[in-house]
Symmetry: none
Amino acid sequence: MDTPAPRRRKASRSHRREQLIEATISTIAQRGLAQTTLSSVARAAGVSHGLVIFYFESKERLLAETLRFMSDVHRRHWETAIEQAGPAPEERLLALILSEFDDALYTQEWLTAWCGFWGEAQSRPLYLTQSGENDRAYIEIFETLSAELAHAGGYPIEPGRAARVLRLTIEGVWLELMFSAKPYSREEALNTVLFCAGTLFPHHFGPGGPVSR
Amino acid sequence: MDTPAPRRRKASRSHRREQLIEATISTIAQRGLAQTTLSSVARAAGVSHGLVIFYFESKERLLAETLRFMSDVHRRHWETAIEQAGPAPEERLLALILSEFDDALYTQEWLTAWCGFWGEAQSRPLYLTQSGENDRAYIEIFETLSAELAHAGGYPIEPGRAARVLRLTIEGVWLELMFSAKPYSREEALNTVLFCAGTLFPHHFGPGGPVSR
Amino acid sequence: MDTPAPRRRKASRSHRREQLIEATISTIAQRGLAQTTLSSVARAAGVSHGLVIFYFESKERLLAETLRFMSDVHRRHWETAIEQAGPAPEERLLALILSEFDDALYTQEWLTAWCGFWGEAQSRPLYLTQSGENDRAYIEIFETLSAELAHAGGYPIEPGRAARVLRLTIEGVWLELMFSAKPYSREEALNTVLFCAGTLFPHHFGPGGPVSR
Amino acid sequence: MDTPAPRRRKASRSHRREQLIEATISTIAQRGLAQTTLSSVARAAGVSHGLVIFYFESKERLLAETLRFMSDVHRRHWETAIEQAGPAPEERLLALILSEFDDALYTQEWLTAWCGFWGEAQSRPLYLTQSGENDRAYIEIFETLSAELAHAGGYPIEPGRAARVLRLTIEGVWLELMFSAKPYSREEALNTVLFCAGTLFPHHFGPGGPVSR
DNA sequence: GATGAATGAGCCTTCATTCAT
DNA sequence: GATGAATGAAGGCTCATTCAT
C-alpha cells in the first residue's frame, strides 16, 4: 500500500472565508441588507450558522469584511485594466471606463449588494472605513487622468470638475441599471458615458477622435 | 403607583401623521433604515409606539408612506420652481437645477434618509412603487427640456443622453455630499453641475452664455 | 303646535346592553372566544369600542354578563316549555326535551358561542359562577321528572342515573352538531334523544308508548 | 455582570419535544388555552421561550402538535385496551368503556386541557384536523361493537343510536367531572355509563348479565 | 352619551451570540 | 473544525383601558 494521500482539511481557512463572503453577497442581493441574517448566509453557503461566527466573530465583522472584499476586488479590477492599457492618458481613461462595464464581474447580484451597503453606509461609520481608501484612489485616478488629458489636449476646463462629471455619470448609470423599472441596456449606459467623455474631451473622445466609437 | 404622564392634547389626524413622518425621516437619517424601529420613531415624536401603529397600521406602511411623502415633496418642489421660471427652456432648466440645491429643503437629514431608502429599494418592491411615478416625471422633465434646448440651440447631440448625463451628475453630487469623508462644498457641487450643463449646451450655459455664472 | 313628542334617548340603557351582548355572542361564534376583542364586538354592534367599556366596565365583565345572559335565556326557555306542558311527568319531560331542540333559539351561532365559554370556564372561576345556579336547576329538573316518572311507571331503575344519561345525551348531540365535520341532522339528534328516553322509560317513551313517535 | 445561568445539558430532540408538549398540557390545564403563552409554557418546562420556538416554529404549531399528541395517546389507549380484551363484543365494549376511566392517564389536568381545545376548535380549523381521523375511528368503534352486540343479542334497536347514546354518555360524564362545582365520584360516573349500557343491552350489561357489576 | 386618540403591558417572533458536544 | 441546542435582548404588533373632547 502506498502512503495514503494526506487528508486535506475540509476547507482551508481563506477558502472558507471567501466562500462565506460570496454567500453573503448573494444573500444581500436576494434579500436586502436588512433581511440578511447569519442563518440566511449560512444556508446559502451550505454550512451551519455557528461556522459563520467561528470565522468572522460577529455579523458586523462579516458584513464589514464583505464590503472590503468587494471594494478591493473593484480596485484591483480597474488598476489592472489601466496597467494593461497603452501609456497615453486617453487610452488609460478608456480602459478605466470599459473596465467598469465588465459583465463578468459586475453582475446584477454584485451591484444590488453594493447598493445595499451604500444605503446603510452613512449611518455605519464602520462601513465607510472599509472602502474609504479605495474610494479615494478611485476619485484620484479620474482626476489624474483628467488633468493629464486636459493638459495634453489643451482643454480650457477645470479638470477636477470634468473628472467628477465623468465619474458620477458612470456611477449614475450603474445605479440606474438597478433602480429603473425599465432600464436601458448596458450598451446604452456605456454609450452615455462615452458621449459624456466626448463632450468633455472632444479631441480625444468626440466624434472622429482617436478613441471614438 | 406612579403618577401617569399627563395626557397630551389630541392632534388632528393629518397633523399627527405628518409629525410622525417627519420623526421617521429624522430617525432614518440618524440611525439608518435598518436601525429604525417603531420605538425610535415614537421616541423622536414624543409619543408612544402604540400611536404609530394606530396611525399607520404597520411599520411597513409607515416607511412606505414616508418614502411617498418625500417623493411627493420633491416633485412639487421642482415643479413649482419650473412654473415660476421664465418660458425659455434654458431658464426652466436652470430653475430645475437650482431647485435641487435648495438648502432649506434638502438638508443633510433629508438626503441621508433618501439614501437609506435607495439601499433597500431594490429588495423591497413596495418602495419602488411609492416613488415610481414621480421618478418617471423627473426623468421626463430633463429629457423634455434637453430636447427643447437641443432644438433651440442647434446642438448636434443626442438630447436623451445629454439629459441623462446632467441628471446623473446632479444625483451624483447629491450622493457625494453624503458619502465623502471630506466632501466639497455645496457651492462647488452646484458649479460642477453648471459646468456640466455648459459643456453640453455651451451656447446657453457655457462661459459667456446667457445663464452662465 | 302640539307638544313635540319627547325626544327619545338614542338607545335606552338596557336596550344598548342587550345589543352589545348579542354582538358579543355573534363575534364569539365567528372568531372564537380567544379572538374576541372589544373592538371586534364594537364593530359588530356598529359603535365605538369606548362605548362597550362605558356599558360594561371591562372586557371580563362583558363576557361574564354575556354568559349569564345566555344562561338565563336558556333557563327561561325550558321553564316556560315545562309550564305550558300538561301535568303528567312524561308530558313535561317531553316538553323539556323538545325545547332543547328549538331551532329559533339554538342557532349555530348560539351553540358555537356556548362552546367557547365551556372551553374556558374551568380556568375562569368567574364564568362558572355566572351559570352555576341555572346549571343546578337544569340538573335538578331532570332528576325530578325522572324520579316522578320512575315512580309512576314502576321502573326498577336508579332515577338519578337515568336523568344523567338523558341529560348528557342531549348535551352530547348538541356538541356533536358543532364539532363533527359531517354532522347528522338535527332531526336525527332529536330521535337519538327520544330513543334514549324510550330505552330508559319504555312504557312512556318506548314504541307504542303514549309519547312515542 | 451576573453569572449566567449554567447551561443545561442538551436533550435529545424527541425527548425535548415531548417534554415541551407536556408542559403545554399542564399550562393549558392551569391557565386555560387563552392564557397559555409561550413564556408560560417555557417557564413550566424550565427553559427559555426561544427554545419553544426553536422546536415548534410557532405557538400555533405547538398547540396543534399538543392536540395531536393527546388525540394520538387517547386512540392508542383504547385500541390497546380492546386488543387485550377477549373476543366477544361485550368484552371488547367493556374494555373500551373501562379504558376511558383510567385514572393513570385521564387526570384532571389532561381533561381540563382537552376541554380547552374543544372550546376553540370550532373557530380554528387547524385544531379539528389534528384529531379528526382519530375522532372518526373512535365513533366507528362504538358503532361496530354496538352493531355486533345488537346482532348477537337480538336487540330490536337501531345500533347506531345506541352507540351514540353510549358514547355521548361517556363524554358527558367526562365533561361533568370538570365543570360541576360538586361533581360526583369517578366511580359513580363509571356506574352511570354501565347503567346506560345495561339499559341498551340488558342481556349483556344488565343486572345478571355476563358483564354486570 | 359617544367617540376615538393615546398609552403601555404583554404577546409572538427573530436572531446574534454562546457553548456543549 | 463543525454542529446545532440554548439563551435572551429586542422588535413588531395587539389590545384592554383611560380620558380629552
